[in-house]
Each structure stands twice: as structure tokens, then as C-alpha cells.
């Protein structure tokens, strides 16, 4: 009982700032304090009318899209490899994946900046995508590894024994089995990239992603416009989580259905 109260107080602490932000995004007055002066959508109208913000959003969506696709291709191959590798290979993959996760973004950011400078690569959208993949790939491999632990490689062997080629086996056995995990992982990579700020601030050059735009706004003033942007960003995260949950849910249902058929 006491534990329950403690847990819910901690959750209240986690959620309270987000609730406040959402609440003030509808505030009719620019003041960020109570008493509440009534509801209005004026900040949302401002957000929609802000061209710079729109182009930052498009930039972020583009970067996150490319990051998700590249990370997915590299990560899916590595995760399939995980099922086939011996001890040494697994250790190598593990070290390469866990080290960047355990380092602050600052370290990754400055080392990539130094690499691009040394290779005389102009900082651009491309360098942002390259850097985001470095951050998202380890997370994706770790997440996929946990889920692929349930994958039964003997299904692939059975398919090969029945005469299917390697490509047929992949397309008709492996891929359908791992597809939900792949989609969930791609969403994760997208979310990581969409919110990334620290590393981006080093490798973006003159490009502006959404977090970088929000940062420049935050530094200049406290404007209620940020509340509206934040609420939209929050809505976006909730939507992403909902999609991930839906995929997990449908997958469980199809798994149950599959069991009853057999």
C-alpha cells in the first residue's frame, strides 16, 4: 500500500511538468502563471504561421526518416547476424554497441566533428544523418537482440531442408516473423533522431533541426509559443508509442490466432 503511494507520487512527479506545459499551451495570456486566464488556440495559430519552424520541422522529419531507414537496414542485418555468430563475433558486436550508449552525447558529438573536419567534409544534413545513425544503431541492435532471443533458428533450417533457397527462406519465413520487431525498432530509431540535440549541435553546421530551433527560441526568451510546440512534440511521442503498442498488440493476437489454427 505504502509502495503504491510512493510509486504513484513518483509518476506524478514525472508527469506533472508535461501536464503543466500542455495546460499553458492553451493559455489565453502569455503569462506562465496562475490564475488561468482562459483557453485559446492563439499559440497554435502562431506555430502554424511560423515558416522557420515549419522548415525546421521538415528538416527534422527528413533527417529522422533517413536515419530510421539506414539504421533499420544496418541493424536488421546485424541482428540476423547475431543469431548466426559465434562467441567472438557477438562480443565484438556487443562492445561496439554498448560503448557509445554508455558515453555522453558530448563525446560522440565532438569526435564526429573532429572526424568531419579531418576528412574535410562540409557539415550538412548528410553529416547530421550519419551522426544520428551512430546513436540509433546501437540502441536498435540492443532492442532487437532482446526480442530476437525468442526467434527460433530451426524454422529457417526447416525451410532450407524443405528446399527453399536462402532468399526464399528470408522472404517467406524470416522476414514475416521479424517484421513487427523491425517496424518497432525503426520507430525507435526515428524517435531517437527526431529528439536528438546535443550531437546535432556539433555536426549541423548551418542546418536547423526542430530541437535546434526550439533551443534558439529558449535561449532568446520564454515565449508561450514553446508550450504549443512542446505539446505537439509530446502528442507526436504519444502517437509513436501508440503505434509501437498497437504493433505489439496485433502481433500477440496474430500469434494467438496462429496457435489455435495449428
Amino acid at each position: 500500500m505504502i509502495l503504491r503511494i510512493v510509486v504513484w507520487s513518483i509518476l506524478a512527479f514525472l508527469l506533472m511538468p508535461l501536464v503543466i506545459i500542455v495546460l499553458f499551451s492553451f493559455h489565453a495570456s502569455p503569462s506562465l502563471s496562475f490564475p488561468f486566464a482562459g483557453f485559446s488556440l492563439r499559440w497554435y495559430a502562431d506555430v502554424l504561421g511560423n515558416a522557420q519552424l515549419g522548415s525546421a520541422l521538415v528538416k527534422s522529419l527528413t533527417v529522422a526518416g533517413f536515419t530510421a531507414v539506414i539504421t533499420l537496414v544496418l541493424g536488421a542485418a546485424a541482428s540476423l547476424a547475431w543469431l548466426r555468430l559465434g562467441r567472438g563475433g557477438r562480443t565484438l558486436l556487443e562492445v561496439l554497441c554498448l560503448t557509445p550508449i554508455a558515453l555522453p552525447g558530448l563525446f560522440v558529438g565532438v569526435s564526429l566533428l573532429v572526424l568531419f573536419a579531418q576528412a574535410r567534409v562540409q557539415l550538412s544534413t548528410v553529416t547530421i544523418v550519419i551522426s544520428h545513425v551512430v546513436l540509433a544503431l546501437p540502441i536498435l541492435i540492443v532492442a532487437m537482440r532482446a526480442r530476437l532471443a525468442l526467434f527460433d533458428p530451426s524454422l529457417e533450417e526447416a525451410s532450407r531442408d524443405l528446399g527453399a533457397s536462402q532468399i526464399q527462406t528470408f522472404g517467406r519465413v524470416t522476414l514475416p516473423l521479424i517484421a513487427p520487431t523491425l517496424i518497432a525498432s525503426a520507430i525507435l530509431a526515428f524517435a531517437v533522431s527526431f529528439d536528438e540535440f546535443v550531437v546535432t549541435s556539433f555536426v549541423a553546421g548551418t542546418e536547423t533541426t526542430l530541437p535546434m530551433y526550439i533551443w534558439s527560441m529558449m535561449r532568446r526568451t520564454v515565449t508561450p509559443l514553446i508550450n504549443a510546440i512542446s505539446t505537439l512534440a509530446l502528442l507526436f511521442s504519444v502517437a509513436i508509442l501508440f503505434i509501437a503498442w498497437l504493433i505489439g498488440h496485433l502481433r500477440r493476437r496474430s500469434a494467438v490466432a496462429g496457435r489455435t489454427v495449428s
Binding site: V7, I21, S33, L96, S111, Q118, S230, I240
Partner: protein, 292 residues
Amino acid sequence: MKAPRSSMGSLLAAPAVLYMVVFFVVPSLILFVYSFWTAASYKIVPDFVFSNYLNSLMSPLFWTVTINAILIGLVTASITLVLAIPVGYYLVYVSRSQVILYLILITWFSSYLVRIYAWRTLLGTSGVLNTILLQAGIVDSPVGVFLFSRFAVAITLIHIYLPFCILLVVSSLSEIKKDLVDAARDLGASPLGAFFRVIAPNAANGLVGAFMLTFVMVAGDYVTPQMLGGSSGQTTGLLIADQFRKTGNWPLGAAQAFLMFLVSTAIYFAVMGLGRATGLIVKRRPAKKAGA
């Protein structure tokens, strides 16, 4: 022609491994090499000197900000872990509540900058907390110390990294069977007693891992102290970032990044040593038969 499983595996792993080598290992090595170079009037010259390290170690500013970062890191990571454990315990042993799990994930996935901004809104002089205190008559004038203080930095960092820490705690507690807890309870241990005598020693490695990961993230986070810490917001991270963005002395920044890495490693061993000395961390022994 059937390729052996392991060679097929290597082929599939190759692109990802290559990518991480080129864009993570190589840059880290270049950064290390840079730390021995010199910067003269905005030009970086290849060299082999230890002056970047020595100058940093001799500089009072470096130590002030590093101690600040370590203090913020230790205090914040400790509180974060203490808060994460009950939630993790509840999720693993009491109820696998999907609602709680998703509420945690929502906070985790909500934007980093937005959360910093939210706390600035909450703690500001005309912010929510002050308004409530004023209206309730608890204080007569707005409390200025909420914002731009170590308190503001700590509470925001806890908020940002708590969901992450909870997930780490959940994964380390999941390895310990509920039977052990039940057995301890049957033998008369209180809930707290069962936690400290049964779960904590068994999960010690995972919990220390959660603490250290949180510590590294928090101590390396320079954005939050910069936005909310005021004059107490100078940390090593900010110092390093400024060498790369403003001052242009990249070799010095590189050396300081590696010094920060060394300090974190030293703290890891200190925490492990302290844990062993106080008996909180028990070395995992291979499973033995009863009586051994």
C-alpha cells in the same frame, strides 16, 4: 552450395560493424590523437605534447567545474536510483502494469529540451511553483533560488533520467526470481528487509550499472546546468563544448574530454570498491551446492 552459418553471420554483421568502426572508433581515435596536438591562433597543428593535459590539470577552473559536474552527477544519480528502485520493484514483483510502463515510456520519449523548458517554467520567479506558494500565503515574495541553482539543475536532471534509470532497474530486477522474495517473506523478513538482504545483493551488479550509466549521462549533460544552473551551471561538459564551439581550441577540448572519461572510470571503480568494502556488493559466486 550452402554457406556455413558463421560466415553468413559475419557477412550480415559486416556493414554495421564497419559503420561503427568508421564513425565511432576512428573518430574516438582521432580525438585522442588531437589531444596531443596544439592550437595556435585558430590553427590546429599536429604535435606531440602533453601540455593540454597538464594545463587542464593545473587549471583551477577545470577542477572547479569538474568537481561541480561530479557533485551534480553523484547527488542526482543517487536520488534517481533511490526513486527508480521502488517503481522498478513495483513493476517487477507487484504488478506488471502496462499503464505505469507506458506512462514511464511517454516521459522518456518526450522531448529532452521540452522537459528542461518545463522546469524553467515551473521554477521561475513568475512561474507556477512561486505563484502557488504566494497564493497559499506560504511566502510573501517570489522565491528566486528555485531557478538558477543546483536545486533546479538536480530536479530537472532527475526528471530527465529517471525513466531511463527505471527501465535499467526493471531489467536488472527481472533476473531475480520472485520465489526468493517470497521465501524471505515467509521466513519473517519485512518488505524492506527482504529488499536489502535478498534482492539488493543479488541485483547489486545491475543496480550499480544503472547508477553508473545514470551518473555518466548526468555528469556529461551540460545543457541542463547551462539553462537552469546560473553561475553554478558551469560543468566540464560545458567547458569542453565551448572549446569546440567558441574558443576553437579543439586539442584542449579533446584532452579535457578524455580527462572526464578517466574521472568517470575512476568513480566507477571507487563505487565498486566502496560497495565491496561495505558488503553491499557481493561478488557473484558460481552456483554451489548447499553447505558450501
